[in-house]
């Protein structure tokens, strides 16, 4: 008995030693890259939150892949943000309401099947239908019949299977009828939710999700969830923006500091979100291999207009005063190292002047003026109860830091250390719950990442009466009327002018105060050339060349 025990013990010890030796033996060597090979771009990635379906993706990581494996009717020019025809040969309308879409011949999905008008109509019907629970189905709300396939009331069920406004004419033509005129509608079609889907998607959905099939410049070679995805160039791609490299290897990083470390160690070629903690020394680390350019994201602070303290004349004065008390220049340079730009309107510089961006539209309200701020707030009878809170979730971004800075700035301007206090909410889910439940009593963070580079997208979903993301409960007849007129305008210039007029109403009422435009950042290795970010701050992978 005792002898056998001893043997077992020594055996175990020997086994342990053997493992330890094997481990140390493996420890040496393998300093170089590996994995990549050929002219592959090794880029950082995050796990997509939702299944990779075109209409079920509303965040940037899933969108990154969809942009590579799909090409819809339009594509946004990576530099100008303008919607250019991709698969569309023409999109014609006489009344801004009924559109005839003709698609180019010769496009195929990577499984060899042709892309037809039916591929689009089926995909859009799928995306819109409530039973498919697609998170971005609201994109189809402009199409006639959306209410029947996707009723919004509680407990309601769909009364139709397909959108009545969609009709296939022939293999390369289909018509779309909208519920009301929307002149810029064709410009929205570059968004991933409008991508066509192959028959394989409907035949075997699970298999498709394991390895999505699209019609874009890349196709998926292998995909292991929450690890990596390997995409190779699609040689049968019919578009103009063919890939200039052999493929892309996306690697999931749960912490972008780790991705940055890997970039420095030469294990990674491209990261598209430089961690805030590295911004201070990125110049030394990467030199000119660092990109910092405007993205279609604006950060604002909104007010609960449903609360009596923030209503009426005095409420408007308070909002203006608070806006003037924030030193945007100082905060963007000190906290964000110039990866944010002080905002002067409600849109984004990526739209360009022609697209409706207007610097300084916000006027004095967005300029730092502590004296003026103090006077306005005094005129309005002081802050409600003598103080105000600023609420946001603090689990992502550097929200806590800038919130503290904004409150400091307000307190300094008002000479009152207790005027503004920060109210951090631990999780995004909880924060959004409180916001949509109209439980706010003071200022709260609102941010907007554009769906498509159109001025309409920065205004209508956020400030139109009862719009889906109108968190402040703002409602202005004049604003609504101008938006309606803009949507019905037949010329683009006219539409944009109307949108800007509507924006001026906002600048007067200030339901939200613009803080800053967010930039997209990226860093890349010496192996790469031609790296740039598109207006959605996603790298333009097709243009990257590898040495």
């Amino acid at each position: 008995m005792r002898g056998s025990t001893r043997n077992r013990l020594t055996g175990a010890v020997a086994g342990v030693m053997a493992v330890a030796l094997a481990v140390t033996a493996c420890g040496g060597g393998d300093g170089s890259g590996g994995g990549g090979g050929g002219s592959f771009v090794r880029a950082s990635w995050g796990d997509p939150q939702h299944p990779l379906e075109p209409a079920n993706t509303n965040e940037v990581q899933g969108g990154k892949v969809l942009d590579m494996i799909f090409r819809g009717l339009k594509r946004y020019n990576p530099e100008t943000g303008e919607a250019e025809d991709a698969m569309a040969e023409s999109i014609e309308t006489d009344d801004q309401r009924t559109f005839t879409v003709t698609i180019e011949d010769g496009w195929t999905f990577s499984d060899g099947t042709p892309v037809t008008a039916k591929s689009y109509v089926d995909a859009w019907n799928y995306g819109a239908h409530i039973d498919n629970a697609q998170i971005a189905s609201y994109f189809f709300q402009f199409i006639e019949g959306y209410d029947e396939v996707h009723p919004v009331d509680e407990g309601a069920e769909a009364t139709a299977d397909t959108l009545s406004g969609l009709e296939v004419v022939d293999d390369h033509t289909f018509t779309v009828r909208l519920t009301e005129p929307f002149s810029l509608w064709p410009e929205t079609l570059g968004y991933a939710a409008y991508a066509p889907l192959p028959q394989a998607f409907f035949d075997d959905h699970d298999a498709w999700l394991d390895k999505p099939i699209g019609n874009g410049p890349y196709k998926i070679d292998s995909y292991s969830r929450s690890q990596s995805m390997r995409l190779v160039r699609n040689d049968a791609y019919a578009g103009d923006d063919k890939a200039k490299n052999d493929g892309v290897e996306l690697r999931v990083y749960t912490d972008n500091n780790t991705a940055y470390t890997d970039l420095q160690a030469g294990n990674l070629d491209l990261i598209d979100d430089v961690p805030a903690s590295q911004l201070a020394n990125i110049g030394n680390d990467l030199g000119d291999r660092y990109i910092n350019q405007p993205a279609g994201i604006i950060q604002t602070v909104s007010f609960p207009l449903y609360d009596k303290d923030w209503k009426g004349e005095d409420g408007a004065k308070l909002r203006r005063g608070l806006s003037m008390a924030i030193d945007r220049e100082e905060i963007t340079s000190q906290i964000f190292h110039d990866t944010r730009t002080p905002a002067g309107d409600f849109t984004s510089p990526v739209l360009g002047e022609a697209g409706g961006y207007k610097e300084g539209l916000c006027g004095d309200a967005c300029d730092y003026d502590p004296e003026g701020a103090r006077e306005l707030i005094e005129e309005a009878g002081g802050l409600p109860g003598g103080k105000v809170t600023l609420t946001s979730n603090v689990d992502t971004g550097s929200h806590r830091q800038w919130m503290d800075a904004v409150c400091n700035s307000i307190n300094n301007a008002l000479n009152d250390t207790g005027a503004c206090t920060v109210n951090p909410v631990p999780t995004f889910a909880d924060f959004r719950n409180r916001v949509t439940g109209h439980e706010m009593t003071g200022m709260f963070r609102t941010g907007w990442q554009m769906d498509y580079p159109l001025i309409q997208n920065f205004l209508q979903p956020l400030y139109y009466t009862d719009a889906s993301s109108n968190d402040s409960g703002y409602s202005s007849e004049e604003f609504d009327r101008l938006i309606d007129e803009a949507n019905a305008a037949s010329e683009e210039d006219e539409a944009i002018e109307k949108f800007q007029q509507a924006e001026e109403v906002l600048a007067e009422d200030l339901p939200a105060i613009p803080l800053w435009y967010q930039n997209g950042t990226a860093g890349y290795s010496e192996r790469l050339d031609g790296v740039k970010l598109n207006p959605f701050s996603v790298p333009v992978f097709t243009d990257i060349t590898v040495d």
Binding site: V16, C26, G28, H50, S137, A265, T436
Partner: protein
């Protein structure tokens, strides 16, 4: 012995049910609605949210939800994630291998290096080596794991380039060595100190004098008698520690980009994926329970005076 094991296994059932119940309730009590958060800044419409809730069974009363979860669990159904619509069992089985490899490697390092250091220090108690080991372990205990992790990563991985700074392939034990070392550092220090104390105490025990007197070599006396008797507290610690290594690897997994359980549970907590959190935590509870049983059985092997009936 057999009856003892059966009794212990039966005791696990109420512990397991009780703990899953508590975690389930805690997840439910957390503020925020995961379904609403799906839409980001733009709330999905009511009809769609209700359809989703009904689909996932989130619209039922909480006790009913727990009952559904539990009955599903016994049929091997761990539930479905809300955002990604993936089976929780898939998420777990994907993260598990990396975690098991990391845990075992860290465990081996902890046990081998810790016990060896403790033995050396204990046999030379009061000497320079002992003081050196005491100082070294003090250092490891007082420096937080993320500092150690980043230090290893920066020096071994980036500056000197000896080893890959992050883990790309968790099947490559060479890549896992660095994170395992970081993870093991703290436990290793505790094990070294525990072993040392135990050795110092037992070195002067009667049985040691007897062993030497009956003519055993020092080597045999120490290896067979002293070490075995001194290991009981260490084995207890190691048993508890295997659970800690498994669940407590969140920080290490983040630094070295290992897609393991710790990371999965952290992400799930942030987005309030109840089923995922309960699933992973239940699994870790099972590991704890089984290891605790194994530790108790090991006592009998180490010390024949201990008998289970």
């Amino acid at each position: 012995m057999g009856r003892y094991v059966v009794r212990r296994l039966l005791q696990m059932i109420p512990v397991f049910i009780g703990s899953t119940f508590i975690i389930f309730m805690m997840m439910y009590a957390l503020p925020g609605d995961p379904v609403r958060a799906l839409g980001g800044e733009r709330a999905p419409d009511e009809a769609q949210m209700n359809a989703l809730r009904a689909d996932l069974g989130l619209d039922e009363p909480i006790l009913q939800q727990y009952w559904n979860y539990l009955t599903g669990l016994f049929q091997g159904d761990f539930g479905t994630q809300i955002a990604s619509r993936r089976e929780v069992i898939d998420v777990i089985s994907e993260a598990l291998p990396a975690t098991i490899r990391l845990t075992l490697l860290a465990f081996v390092i902890t046990a081998v290096v810790g016990i060896a250091m403790g033995l050396i220090a204990g046999l030379r108690a009061g000497g320079k080596t002992d003081a050196g080991i005491l100082f070294f372990t003090l250092l490891l205990i007082s420096v937080p794991v993320f500092v150690i992790g980043y230090l290893y990563q920066t020096y071994f991985g980036v500056k000197w380039g000896w080893i890959s700074p992050t883990v790309r392939d968790s099947e490559d034990l060479g890549e896992l060595f660095l994170p395992a070392l970081a993870l093991a550092s703290l436990s290793l220090a505790y094990v070294a100190r525990l072993t040392r104390t135990s050795i110092v105490e037992n070195r002067r025990a009667d049985y040691m004098r007897t062993a030497r007197a009956k003519g055993l070599t020092k080597r045999r006396a120490v290896g067979v008698h002293l070490l075995r008797n001194s290991l009981i507290p260490v084995v207890t610690f190691l048993g508890v520690d295997i659970g800690n290594l498994m669940a407590g690897a969140v920080v290490t997994e983040g630094i070295f980009n290992i897609h393991g359980l710790g990371r999965a549970v952290f992400e799930a907590l942030k987005s309030r994926e109840g089923a995922t959190v309960v699933g992973i935590v239940s699994f870790i509870i099972l590991v704890y329970l089984v290891v605790a049983l194994l530790v108790d059985l090991l006592y009998a092997v180490l010390d024949p005076r201990i008998r289970y009936a």
